[in-house]
Each structure stands twice: as C-alpha cells, then as structure tokens.
C-alpha cells in the first residue's frame, strides 16, 4: 500500500497550490482528484479575476488572503509562466446610491490594505477605458486578470516537478484512522498517510464529515456565463463592473479575459446539486437581457460558449448568512487541515491559503525545507504568440510547430503533443484544450476536434472507444465504423 506524509484531497486551484507549497518541504505528497484532470470544479468555472480585496470584511481570512495573494501575483505568474495582466478594474456608477455603495467599499478596501484605490470622474474613466459607461467610478489599479485553468495546471505541474504525486480519476470513498495514520480508501485502492488536507471544494463538507469535523454547511450559489468572441472584446482592456449593491454583490457584468474574450455574467441563484453545472434557458436569457444593458455585443453572432460555476459558500446554519473561509486544525483530528467554504476569492487566495495550511502543520511538527525545491515551471510555448522571425526560428528547430491543428486559436501539433504528454497524466480531449486553448475558438473544435482525438489515439495508443471528452466515462465514440485490425 502506498504511504505518504500528506494526502491533499481535491486538485482545484487551492489543492494544487497546497501541493506546491508542501513540496517546498521534505514531505512525500499525494494529491487525490476524482476527475480525470486538475481544476475540474469551480477552478475552471469563474471569471478569472485577481481580486484586490475591497469587498471583504476587514480582518477576515478572505480579506487578508486576497490582499496577500494580489500583491505577490506578478512574481507568481512569472515563476509559473502563466498568462496574467494587472489590468486594474473600474467600478462604475451613475446615481447617488451607487456613489454611496462604491465609497463604502473603497473604505473597506483601504482598511484591508488595498493600495491605489481612487475615485475618478467621467473623463478619467474614459481615458482608462473608453468602452465604459458611467458618471464616475472607483479605479482599482491592483486588480488583474488571469487564466484560472492555466494557473491551476501550472501550480500542479510545479508541485509535481518538486515531487508531489497526482492521482487523477481517483475518488476518496472512505477515511479511517488506523493508529497514527489515516487510511484512505479510494476508487483505485488504498493509501495511508500521516496528514490529510481537505481542499475538496464543493465536497469539502463531505470530507470534513468523514474527518469527524461535522456541522459545517455550505450553500451553492450558481452563476451562468456567456463567453463572447474576441472580436467583441476588441478595444477593451479593463474589466468594468457596475456599482455593487449594499451586500457587495455585483449585477450581471461583461468583463474582458486575459485572452481577449468577453465573459458576460455570472448571475446568481441557489442550487442544491453539488455538480449542477447545466446552463438553463431562463438564466441564459437573463444574461442576454441584462448584459445588453451594459454592453451592446451580447448577440448570437458573438456567442462562443456558455458555462456555469457554483460558489459553495459557508453559511451559518442558524442565520443563513455567508461566512468566512475556514482553515483549521482541531484536536478532534490533529493531523487534518480542514478547508471549508473556499469560494471567491479562492483563486486570488490560493497560495496564501496554502501557506496557512503549512503553518497549521507546523503547529504539530517541524517541517524540513526541501533544498531542491524549484519554484520555476515552464508552460507550453505558444506558436501563435511569436513574431514572424521567432516563428521561423522555432520551425527550423521543431517542425511540428508548423502543423496548425486548431485554426481558430492558431494551436500547432507540437503544442498538442506536449499537452497530451503532460506530467500529470491527464488524457482527455479537454485536458488538451485547457493546456493549449485548442477548441476554444469560434468553431468550438469543428475543425480540430477530429485531429486532436486522432493525435491522442496515436500518442497514447488508445482504442477508439477509450477516448474521453472531459469527465470519467465521457467516452466520445462507440467504436469503429469498420472493425478489424489495421496492418501497420
């Protein structure tokens, strides 16, 4: 049976950040993830914002971690070679109520230590973001935009190169305490470990219960999104949010992503289904309706994709109000670090939370630093981003960069192959998509999907019926049209 010092349950952005931070120490680490790839839950279903920290209660973990995570992100993005732009954000308003609410959050932000918040007039707003409508705004220069999937993958790959082992497509079924170890029963066999870190996101209460840390309640706040064509985003560079309401919530908005697409949404409604990711006619129509008020390009000719995410917020069982993050180590389970209710700004807070997990572990034992730890991870070189002369040079060295597979996003065979041979062992078509942006363009795989599935088959020697789309059992094909063997 496999034995580890620490088992991290859940490979979302927080779980992967924890694995990376733990790999700075001399610990054998495994990460258990029930889906075939990392970041399959809400980590890949959000707006991709690096929050500044002005909507969180001062002194809360949300506030502290957001400000910390925000400040260090230029360095993190460089270390992990992930796309990031400190774009700033404008929160625009029209009425006196808007102004009141914006000023309230400006004050909160300042109390939280957010730097650079300033009220700006219409002229300045127009200079910063000509596409924004508003009489006045708050400008938050520290806000930024990133690709949450690339970030999650990068954290995982960096953890992996520093020794963490990832077990994908492996679900935790049962936990038991056997002497001074935990014995975890998974869908693919048992593992023992000294420490368990619960970063299971939407299933954090389930794992928390398994650990004997009962009584937590989370509620699912679901939000649907439209992704719009990059053409809709032309000329826009700064996320524009409408003034928050008294509770700090934002109405439907349209923001630019790091790749130049526009995201419309999310809206917000309650769901009970842990993985209720289906979009609905009613809510998509609502997004179009509300989106058009802010942005005129919310039209079918620009629709690329729709998706939904669910923010599992911890709520007070008696009052129903939303509570702060929980990150704890209790005497009932001294070798478990329990994270419950991690939702927005989870992306921004991932590494600060991970460092706090380490601190919790250090309450119990001395952790020796791993002298071989390397924080630098390189991503897949993207042909589409190079200049003509750089392209020429790369093609001389690696001709496979000359075979364009995804026409819409300009992704080449060399990139696809590197994505297929990813260090974590994720083998689905979506795993390739998330690592290269192939299939994310306007034809949604109409041209490249047949090629990508063929390359996956070739490179991994997979049978037709074993090619998976995204989730477990998401087999894309039922078999060959004409059976029989191929003579090589």
């Amino acid at each position: 049976m496999e034995r580890y010092d620490a088992a991290v349950i859940g490979a979302g952005v927080v779980g992967c950040a924890i694995a990376r931070e733990l790999s700075r120490y001399q610990l054998s680490i495994c990460v258990l993830e029930k889906e075939p790839d990392v970041g399959s839950g809400n980590s890949s279903r959000n707006t991709g914002m690096l929050h500044a920290g002005f909507t969180y209660q001062p002194g809360s973990l949300k506030a502290l971690c957001a400000v910390e995570g925000n400040r260090e992100f230029d360095m993190v993005a460089e270390e992990l070679d992930v796309p990031f732009r400190r774009s700033g954000k404008v929160v625009v308003g029209f009425t006196d109520t808007d102004k009141r609410n914006i000023l309230k959050y400006k004050a909160i932000g300042e109390e939280n230590g957010v730097r650079g918040l300033e009220m700006i007039d219409k002229q300045r707003l127009h200079a910063i973001e000509p596409g924004a409508g508003g009489e006045f705004a708050m400008y938050s220069p520290m806000s930024g935009i990133l690709d949450p999937i690339q970030y999650t993958i990068a954290l995982a790959e960096n953890a992996h190169m520093n020794g963490a082992r990832f077990f994908l497509d492996q679900e935790v079924l049962k936990l038991e305490r056997v002497k001074d170890q935990y014995r975890i029963t998974t869908s693919e066999g048992d593992i023992t470990c000294r420490w368990i870190i619960n970063s299971a996101g939407m299933y954090s209460t389930k794992i928390s219960d398994m650990l004997g840390l009962i009584g937590y309640e989370t509620k699912g706040f679901k939000g649907e999104y439209y992704v719009l064509d990059k053409k809709a985003g032309l000329g826009l560079k700064t996320p524009v949010y409408p003034a928050p309401n008294e509770k700090g919530g934002f109405a439907t908005h349209a923001t630019i992503t790091i790749d130049g697409n526009i995201l419309v949404g999310p809206d917000s409604y309650i769901t009970a289904g842990r993985e209720d990711y289906a979009t609905t006619r009613e809510h998509l129509a609502g997004l179009v309706n509300d989106g058009l008020k802010m942005f005129d390009k919310v039209r079918p000719e620009y629709f690329i994709r729709t998706f939904a995410g669910i923010r599992w917020k911890r709520i007070d069982p008696d009052t129903g109000t939303v509570q702060d993050f929980v990150i704890e180590r209790r005497e009932e389970a001294p070798y478990a670090v329990n994270l419950v209710g991690i939702e927005s700004p989870g992306l921004t807070c991932a590494l600060p939370l991970a460092r706090r997990v380490v601190k919790k572990m250090q309450e119990k034992e001395v952790l020796k630093v791993n002298p071989a730890f390397c924080p630098i991870r390189k991503g897949i070189k993207r042909f589409g981003e190079l200049s003509i002369s750089e392209k020429r040079k790369l093609l001389r060295e690696q001709p496979a960069y000359g075979e364009i597979v995804c026409r819409c996003e300009g992704v080449t065979r060399a990139e696809i192959e590197q994505a297929i041979h990813n260090p974590l062992g994720a083998h689905t078509v979506t795993a390739v998509k998330n690592r290269t942006r192939a299939m994310m363009g306007r034809c949604q795989g109409g041209y490249c999907e047949t090629r990508i599935s063929a390359i996956i088959q070739e490179e991994l020697n997979k049978k037709v019926e074993d090619v998976l789309y995204q989730r477990r059992s998401s087999n894309m094909f039922v078999g060959k049209v004409r059976g029989g063997k191929d003579d090589a």
């Binding site: 049209v481 004409r482 059976g483 029989g484 191929d486 003579d487």
Partner: protein, 127 residues
C-alpha cells in the same frame, strides 16, 4: 390513395401527384415533362437507390475508401448490400472507379471506389 412526390430529375422540382389503387398507378398529375412522369412511376412501382458508404482498407494512407454503386439498385436491397460492404476489406493502393465488390448482393450492380487511396509505407516518398 393520393401520394405526392417531389420529382428530383431537374432543379424545377415539380410536385407530382400520383393516384394509386391496388398497387397500380391510376393517374399522374403535376409533372411538366415526361422524365418526371417516369421518375414518379418508378418511385411507386420499383424505387431505385444509390448507396454511398465505406469499405475497410488495409495498408492504405487512410483507413477507409469511400464507395458507391455503379448503378442504382432496388430500394429494398439497401441493407443486403450494406451487409456485404461491412464484411468486405480491400488492400491499398485503390484507384477511383475500381470495382471492389462485383454484383454485390446479387443486384447486378458493383461497388466501386470513389477515391484514390495510396499505399502507406516505405515505398512512399518521405516528407
């Protein structure tokens, strides 16, 4: 019984009305040319179809060669033809027009290749 058939003999696409009783054609109305009348009569008494499908190839640059019948067959023979096609295999290289299955399912029609398929392997030039 009245049946309406859209004639496909030319782009005019006349809607032809055929009166059928006891399996026999009583009248044909709506066609603007004799070809239409013939097509419609055939459709009622002895409908013919072509079939386009694929045959498995061994040793070719592609796994399948697209094929069709060289002349239409009776509509009710479609699945018998398909059974033979599914069981067949051929070897590359294949030339367009090459007969792969002669007198398939005893229809008097042949299955012919509709594409060239080169042989895969060392004999081909390296890129």
């Amino acid at each position: 019984m009245l049946k309406e058939i859209a004639c496909i003999m030319c782009p005019a696409g006349c809607d032809v009305e055929v009166e059928v009783s006891g399996g026999k054609i009583i009248s044909v109305r709506g066609n603007t040319c004799p070809k239409g009348k013939e097509y419609v009569k055939r459709e009622i008494t002895d409908p013919q179809r072509n079939i386009a499908t694929s045959v498995l190839i061994c040793g070719g640059e592609q796994p399948l060669v697209s094929v069709r019948l060289n002349k239409p067959v009776a509509k009710d023979k479609i699945f018998s033809v398909m059974d033979e096609v599914k069981a067949a295999a051929c070897t590359a290289p294949i030339e367009i027009g090459q007969v792969l299955l002669s007198d398939v399912a005893s229809t008097g029609s042949d299955i012919i290749a509709t594409k060239h398929i080169k042989r895969r392997g060392r004999e081909n030039d390296e890129d």
